[in-house]
């Protein structure tokens, strides 16, 4: 094992040994101006991904798999792996590791592994099958993903993702995932944002559900066979690190309130993204950052926290009571046309606005991609037209997504076939019929590209800690393309992690641990102390009221558009609010038994710390890239303006203590195969 020990600066492999340098040369060491928040963090040693092989990109994954150590089947039984989270990544990883013969223990906070939030993914999953013969290839999916990520992702990782995508479809079909089919019995595909080929496989508007059920069923098979032990309604609250290795977790049994420790030879975090830091997002109510944040506090670097994806097609907010936002699949943009009235303040009903008084702004601004521009671009365009007073609906925060043309062209039944369930969902929530009245949509936080820093093996900077799916940062750069999240989650869980984790486990099994080990006792005490502190406050505000306020700060200043002044203001407000939280929060009941307020309180406490880091990251990155739009860095047309000379790197942050400035470790990005250009979808 040559991974660096956690939490110690200066031991990361220096960049110069990484071997591959991009065509644009070395990255300069200082950000372009002093407003990059240098007062808020310190600059540490660069970091490099030492696991990715050099040489031709086409064979890197193949060579890495060949070079990785193996564990013989008889020894796998002696090795234990903990998997936290049962979504597409965690569920598929636990099932696959179980099939391979490892002893797996799987944890989720939901009452069943089938409820992980991957279930809510609607649109589809990309794969470079080229069944349409429309010019798709692994190379093109690789290219589209790197470009879609605004050249802030690793070429090696993305190339591997594109290669594995093909196997995922085979795997899912074999499991009985009922993908949409054509009359001839072949798989149907559709197009999705950011691509000009039809490579997205789908199961009506419930692709995530169907893929997750496939993984869940595979997992249940392993559970039934005794190879995976499932612990639902258990929440990971701390990572146990012994002798520099991740060796276990502290969990709370959400039903009994019991705090327990579980030990293993490796820990896999598949705990999803942190979009709920904004309170209102398309994430499930329970989605949280606690697992990854606790690992970060124990020394795992957190990369690119400011890259958040705002999804353009969500149902607008209806009032203060709103508890979450509902996504309308991006696939709707295949047939729906986005428009607002040309005149500001035009409040006629949409059907009474004549064609020539409508502004189909995406088609006007981006003629070649039209309504199918990537999410970040569509979102910002919608925000801009609303800011100019042309937004629709009661709040003025909405644009129309109109299916009248598509219904004329294809007929109502075809549209119902493609989007029926989405239309019903829209009607249930808003009380309006989208067959008759155009939908109203507005952007909402949807996905977080940032996450724990991992190398090519998906191992974090703590040896033995692996991070997969949305919880890691690796494949999407600064912006994720539609239908790529399912692809990445399953690629990590089914194919990548089960190959790479053996290289680490080959050195195991490691020394057995007991509850009395000092590191274990310390981790456990941390957890019980924290819970007691939350219960002891007995203040006068609910957890949700703090969460809502934190979310508003983040949305206003660290949302679709970010500025130096706004982020500084946000930082001050977050700190003040966090202090208030620890004094005034009221958590009813006790730690015994089911206490949903206590669960929430712990998660919100971690969101506070994460929010600060997000703002610091957003502040230091004075360029605009993908989901991170700095108002100071835009082209004359108002598009995101990257600054490759100074920011072509991954920002990996090291935790140094509460209220201590974090340390920035930069991993330079090199582009040998996809030359960075100004992203253009015009």
């Amino acid at each position: 094992m040559n991974s660096p020990r956690p939490g110690q600066r200066g031991e990361f492999a220096p960049t110069s040994t990484s071997g591959h340098h991009g065509p644009q040369g070395e990255v300069e060491t200082a950000p372009p101006n002093s407003s990059g928040g240098l007062d808020l963090f310190t600059l540490g040693e660069p970091i490099a991904d030492t696991k990715a092989p050099d040489g031709p990109i086409e064979t890197r994954w193949q060579r890495r798999r060949f070079d990785a150590k193996l564990v013989n089947p008889a020894n796998r039984r002696k090795l234990t792996v903990i998997v936290v989270g049962t979504g597409l990544a965690g569920g598929s990883a636990a099932a696959t590791l179980g099939e391979q013969g490892y002893r797996v223990r799987s944890y989720c906070y939901q009452d069943s592994p089938r409820r992980a939030h991957s279930i809510a993914a609607q649109g589809g999953i990309n794969a470079a099958k080229n069944y349409r013969n429309d010019g798709d290839s692994i190379q093109r999916l690789f290219y589209d993903t790197v470009k879609g990520g605004d050249f802030r992702s690793r070429e090696s990782n993305v190339r591997r993702l594109a290669e594995v995508s093909v196997e995922i479809i085979d795997q899912a079909v074999a499991q009985g995932v009922p993908f949409a089919r054509e009359y001839g019995g072949l798989l149907d595909t559709r197009s999705f944002g950011g691509a000009q080929v039809q490579r997205t496989f789908y199961a009506r508007g419930q692709t995530g559900q169907q893929l997750l059920l496939g993984a869940y069923q595979a997992l249940e098979r392993q559970i039934g066979q005794g190879r995976v032990e499932m612990h639902s309604r258990h929440e990971m609250l701390e990572l146990i690190v012994v002798d520099g290795r991740a060796r276990g977790i502290v969990v709370r049994d959400l039903v009994t309130g019991e705090i327990g420790c579980d030990f293993a030879d490796a820990v896999v975090l598949a705990s999803g993204g942190y979009g709920n830091v904004f309170y209102l997002s398309t994430n499930a109510k329970g989605c949280n950052v606690t697992a990854t944040w606790r690992a970060h506090r124990k020394g795992a670097l957190f990369a690119n926290p400011c890259y958040t994806q705002i999804h353009p097609t969500c149902i607008p907010v209806s009032g203060d009571h709103q508890s979450k936002l509902t996504l309308m699949s991006e696939s709707l943009r295949n047939d729906g046309r986005v428009w607002v009235p040309k005149a500001a303040g035009d409040d006629r009903p949409p059907r009474q606005i004549p064609e020539d008084e409508r502004d189909y702004f995406l088609e006007r601004m981006y003629p070649s991609f039209g309504n199918l521009v990537p999410r970040d671009i569509a979102s910002r365009a919608a925000k801009n037209v609303c800011d100019s007073g042309r937004g629709v609906g009661q709040t003025g925060l909405g644009v129309y997504l109109d299916f009248a043309d598509a219904i004329d062209r294809l007929g109502r039944s075809t549209i119902a076939d493609r989007y029926g369930n989405l239309f019903e969902m829209y009607q249930r929530i808003t009380g309006e019929d989208p067959y008759e009245v155009p939908m109203r949509i507005y952007p909402a936080v949807h996905y977080t590209m940032g996450g724990l820093w991992v190398d090519y093996d998906l191992q974090a900077t703590i040896p033995g800690l692996f991070v997969i799916g949305e919880a890691n940062f690796s494949d999407h750069g600064a912006n994720r393309l539609g239908a790529s999240a399912l692809m990445q989650g399953l690629a990590d869980g089914y194919f990548v992690l089960p190959s790479t984790i053996a290289d680490y486990l080959a050195a195991g099994p490691f020394e057995a641990l007991t509850d009395e080990h000092p590191e274990v006792v310390a981790a456990r005490d941390d957890v019980t102390d924290r819970l007691s502190r939350l219960l002891a406050c007995q203040g006068d505000r609910t957890v949700d009221s703090f969460h809502r306020e934190l979310g508003q700060i983040m949305w206003d200043h660290c949302g679709m558009e970010r500025t130096d002044a706004g982020l500084r203001k946000a930082l001050a407000e977050i700190r003040a609010l966090r202090d208030q939280f620890w004094q005034r929060v009221k958590v009813p009941g006790d730690g015994e038994g089911l206490n949903q307020a206590l669960e929430k309180a712990g998660r919100v406490a971690d969101f506070f710390e994460l929010a600060e880091l997000m703002c610091v990251d957003a502040l230091h990155r004075t360029e605009s890239a993908g989901g991170h739009f700095r108002a100071e860095s835009q082209t004359p047309e108002g598009e995101a303006q990257r600054d490759d000379d100074h920011f072509s790197y991954v920002a990996a942050w090291e935790f140094t203590g509460a209220d201590q400035p974090p340390v920035l470790h930069r991993e330079d990005l090199h582009f040998e195969y996809v030359h960075p250009t100004q992203r253009s979808y015009k």
Partner: protein
């Protein structure tokens, strides 16, 4: 606290190879028993109804029919043997039907130990929700009916060689309560069959929406026809068409 891995054997292998439980005792097996025995009983009901209608041909014909029933199978079988075989088969079917229903009802009761405070309103069909009480009512009626028109113990005439007279006396206008009881029982039977027949098809694997519509229509039509056929006789007696 530390969890250990459970070393159970694979579950499907266990249930398919080691399970000693008879599939007939599974909740689907019991349904199949109900369906098969129910269909046997329905076939009997159909034959019984058609026989009843002979009453409109006249006393001689009806009495002859009743006598003929005792001689079916002759000369291969001795007199009344067929009748007893049929009675045995029906009896076994009835016992199996009631036994399965009882086991299923007990399981259903055990499956919901705490009742809802707000009783759910019925969204499916009433016929389906009244199967168990309906079954009990029908069972009680069958006992009465046997004592009345088979053994004759409760019949004003009670002569086993003159079934026509038994029937005519039974439903005489002054014994209106017998007709009422009979009517209630037959209507209950109609409800029971309406759901029972459909349910039998479903339990035996009817699985398409079109088939479901047909099965429901058939069950309804058959139940109505059967009720009408059975009720024709007492009302004809009351109306004086049969005397």
């Amino acid at each position: 606290m530390h969890w250990t891995t459970n070393e159970r054997s694979p579950s499907v292998w266990r249930v398919t190879a080691l399970s000693t439980r008879s599939p007939i005792r599974s909740s689907i097996g019991l349904k199949i028993v109900m369906a098969v025995t129910g269909i046997l009983l329905v076939l009997f009901l159909l034959a019984h109804m058609l026989g009843n209608l002979k009453i409109f041909v006249g006393p001689a014909s009806f009495d002859h029919y009743a006598h003929w029933l005792r001689t079916i199978g002759s000369p291969v079988l001795p007199d009344t043997w067929y009748l007893w075989i049929q009675r045995a088969v029906l009896g076994i079917a009835l016992v199996a039907h009631i036994w399965s229903a009882t086991v299923l009802a007990r399981r259903a009761r055990a499956a919901r130990p705490v009742r809802y405070a707000h009783r759910p309103k019925v969204q499916g069909s009433y016929a389906a929700r009244t199967m168990r009480w309906g079954g009990v009512i029908i069972a009680l009626f069958v006992v009465y009916h046997l004592l009345d028109l088979t053994t004759g113990d409760l019949n004003p005439v009670g002569d086993p060689r003159r079934p026509y007279a038994n029937v005519a006396a039974d439903f005489a206008p002054e014994r209106w309560y017998v007709t009422l009881l009979y009517t209630v029982a037959i209507v209950t039977l109609g409800f029971h069959l309406r759901h029972g027949l459909f349910s039998a098809f479903r339990s035996l694997g009817q699985q398409t929406p079109r088939g479901e519509a047909r099965a429901r229509a058939l069950a309804l039509g058959f139940s109505v026809a059967l009720c009408a056929g059975y009720l024709l006789v007492p009302f004809a007696v009351i109306a004086g068409l049969v005397r």
